[in-house]
């Protein structure tokens, strides 16, 4: 209990606004129910874009976890998403293994890569991580294109193996993406109240108090980043399976920035609804505004600015945004 009381800024919000979370729980349940019966009613293109939405929602969530628990920004999460996606694709292409085996491997790869990436900047302020993550995102296409033997170069790779043989393809892609998203959100809700989650929040809010409990700042930063990278590479595995193809074009610096846009627009929420909003915006806007492609960066940039300005305007303007529950 002592720890949770010290995690003042986020922790204090939980108890007084009891009625609001309840409402949200119902809303989330309703959304899940609607999404679960949707395949019986709608066409396959909508299902396809919704599965991409879910996958991107997980990626957005991974950035939100980094911002919320670590207080750090990354614009290079496209790297970890690509890592997960390519792990699934390469294992099928070269080893003939399906998702049952490649998914856990993808998660492990994401975790290891996150760990490796976070170590050099562990003692530095968060801006260094943001700069390094930009280098990460820019180096990714080079690596993918020039390791052609493994990654298929410009053209990328296809994924055709089923998760469950004999079940309709569109259906299993959709439900796999949905299940992954729901599981991640449940896990995050549990994590928020767990000892580890508290420890990380404490290290962010009160570094000195955390040190006294034996939680060093470097440890907290590295573990938050590794967690976030694992989630990102899960999202990549879902993208690969749901879209049945991976190519360097889907993992550029822009995708990394767009994940951050999604995260900011969803107010760094780790709930199902917040993740869906973030994932939805970054998936559906480019799809439905394909004719206005050049306006998308302006749209996203303005969204980023407006939300950041509103969220930080001290006064009544902030009431325009929904409350920031953890």
């Amino acid at each position: 209990m002592a720890v949770s009381e010290l995690v003042h800024p986020e922790g204090a919000i939980r108890s007084p606004a009891r009625a609001v979370p309840d409402l949200r729980k119902w809303l989330a349940a309703l959304v899940v129910a609607v999404l679960a019966v949707l395949p019986m009613l709608s066409g396959s293109f909508l299902l396809y874009s919704l599965s991409l939405c879910f996958a991107n929602a997980i990626a957005v969530l991974s950035v939100s976890v980094l911002v919320r628990y670590g207080g750090e920004v990354s614009i290079g999460h496209s790297f970890f998403v690509a890592l997960g996606a390519y792990t699934v694709a390469v294992m099928e292409k070269h080893l003939g293994l399906g998702l049952w085996i490649s998914l856990p491997v993808a998660l492990l790869m994401g975790f290891a890569a996150g760990l490796l990436f976070a170590v050099p900047s562990r003692r530095m302020s968060g801006i260094y991580l943001a700069v390094a993550s930009m280098a990460l995102a820019l180096s990714l296409p080079e690596l993918l294109i020039h390791m052609e033997r493994w990654t298929g170069g410009f053209e990328g790779l296809y994924i055709s193996r089923d998760l469950l043989p004999g079940v309709a393809k569109a259906g299993q892609r959709y439900y796999f993406a949905l299940a992954a998203l729901i599981l991640v959100c449940l896990a995050m809700a549990h994590f928020r109240g767990s000892r580890q989650g508290m420890a990380l929040l404490l290290a962010r809010a009160h570094p000195r108090a955390a040190e006294a409990f034996g939680i060093t700042r470097s440890w907290a930063r590295i573990s938050v980043f590794a967690l976030s990278a694992t989630l990102a590479s899960l999202s990549g595995a879902v993208v690969a399976f749901a879209s049945s193809t991976v190519s360097p074009n889907s993992f550029t610096l822009w995708s990394g920035i767009f994940y951050l846009v999604g995260s900011v627009v969803s107010l760094q929420g780790t709930s199902l609804l917040a993740a869906l909003v973030g994932g939805g915006i970054i998936t559906l806007v480019p799809q439905y505004l394909a004719g206005a492609g050049d306006y998308v960066p302006i749209l996203y940039g303005s969204a980023l600015l407006i939300v950041t300005l509103l969220a930080n305007s001290g006064s009544g303007l902030r009431r325009l945004l929904p409350g920031k529950g953890a």
């Binding site: 170590v119 801006i127 260094y128 930009m134 180096s139 080079e142 302006i298 940039g301 600015l305």
Partner: protein
């Protein structure tokens, strides 16, 4: 023995051209560091603004927007770029004192808007933009020195010289140094923090414009080359310690030379990966920049 000699035969040329392009990376990094030192904001829009500036010069001198002479096109673009820099600062001004990360995210938003503007006005085409300098060159001991090289060196020395003159000798410069070392105390003493921030943002924009104009003739200009240039400038800033102005200049030259050596001896295709490696190694082993010990820290 002759193989070894052949290996190092190209070394002077590589070092020289690395030095020349390094000067430009240094100018780019100086803009980033000035903004960061005074307002604690990592300006992710820096590269996009520099790219927009170069595109404006192209647009004003080629007839796409206007048909001006090169000099007046540069003057007009300089004015517009400074204006955009001031506007950018005005937009994120409410966030500057909140936290490093919030304002950094906001600069990404500005960068996206600038990028979109470039794409809408100029499209995705690749354009070339030459400098109006005579093309001559001479050899010095196997080294070929061109008019372009000399222009870059002269402009860099001029820019850095005037920047240091302003910072070391003028009232504004003293205010800038005071705000960098202790914003709170400078505010107590009645300094206008916003004015100093604006000074650094505008200088950053000017430095970006100059660097972009000088670097475009060696490559080409397109709405996507901006990101790589920005990464190089960021790397130079990290190598220099991110809050040291001489560090940024020297870091730029080091990075320019190292990139040249890497692309010649190892592979030209993994440039960004190489820069990633440089950033990670620097952060791990020299968190305050390579010059920390040599120069004695922040200057």
């Amino acid at each position: 023995m002759s193989g070894l000699f052949a290996l190092f035969q190209d070394l002077p040329t590589l070092l020289w051209s690395g030095l020349v392009s390094g000067c430009l990376y240094g100018l780019g990094a100086l803009g980033l560091v000035m903004v960061f030192k005074s307002s604690r904001v990592v300006n992710f829009a820096h590269g996009n603004l520099a790219g927009l500036a170069a595109f404006l010069v192209y647009g004003f001198s080629s007839g796409v927007l206007l048909n001006l002479s090169w000099g007046s096109a540069v003057a007009l673009s300089l004015g517009l770029t400074c204006l955009v820099g001031v506007l950018a600062y005005a937009v994120i001004a409410p966030l500057v004192f909140k936290s490093d990360l919030t304002s950094t995210i906001a600069t990404l938003g500005i960068g996206l808007i600038l990028q979109g503007t470039i794409q809408i006005v100029f499209g995705a085409e690749i354009v070339s933009l030459e400098l109006p300098i005579p093309s001559f060159g001479f050899g010095v001991g196997g080294l070929r020195i061109t008019a372009y090289d000399l222009t870059v060196l002269a402009v860099t020395i001029l820019m850095i010289g005037s920047l240091f003159f302003v910072i070391e000798r003028t009232k504004l410069g003293i205010a800038f140094r005071a705000v960098c070392s202790n914003p709170f105390a400078s505010r107590v003493c009645g300094l206008n923090l916003r004015l100093v921030h604006l000074f650094s943002w505008v200088s950053g924009a000017v430095l970006g414009l100059v660097a972009a104009l000088l670097i475009v003739p060696t490559t080409f200009l397109s709405s996507t080359t901006v990101a790589s240039f920005m990464l190089t400038a960021f790397t130079a800033a990290v190598v220099g310690g991110f809050s040291s102005l001489p560090g940024a200049a020297v870091g730029g030259i080091l990075v320019g030379v190292a990139m040249n050596l890497f692309s010649f001896y190892v592979s030209p295709e993994f440039m960004n990966t190489f820069l990633l490696g440089v950033i990670m190694l620097t952060l791990n082993f020299f968190p305050d920049g390579l010059l920390e010990k040599a120069v004695g820290g922040r200057v």
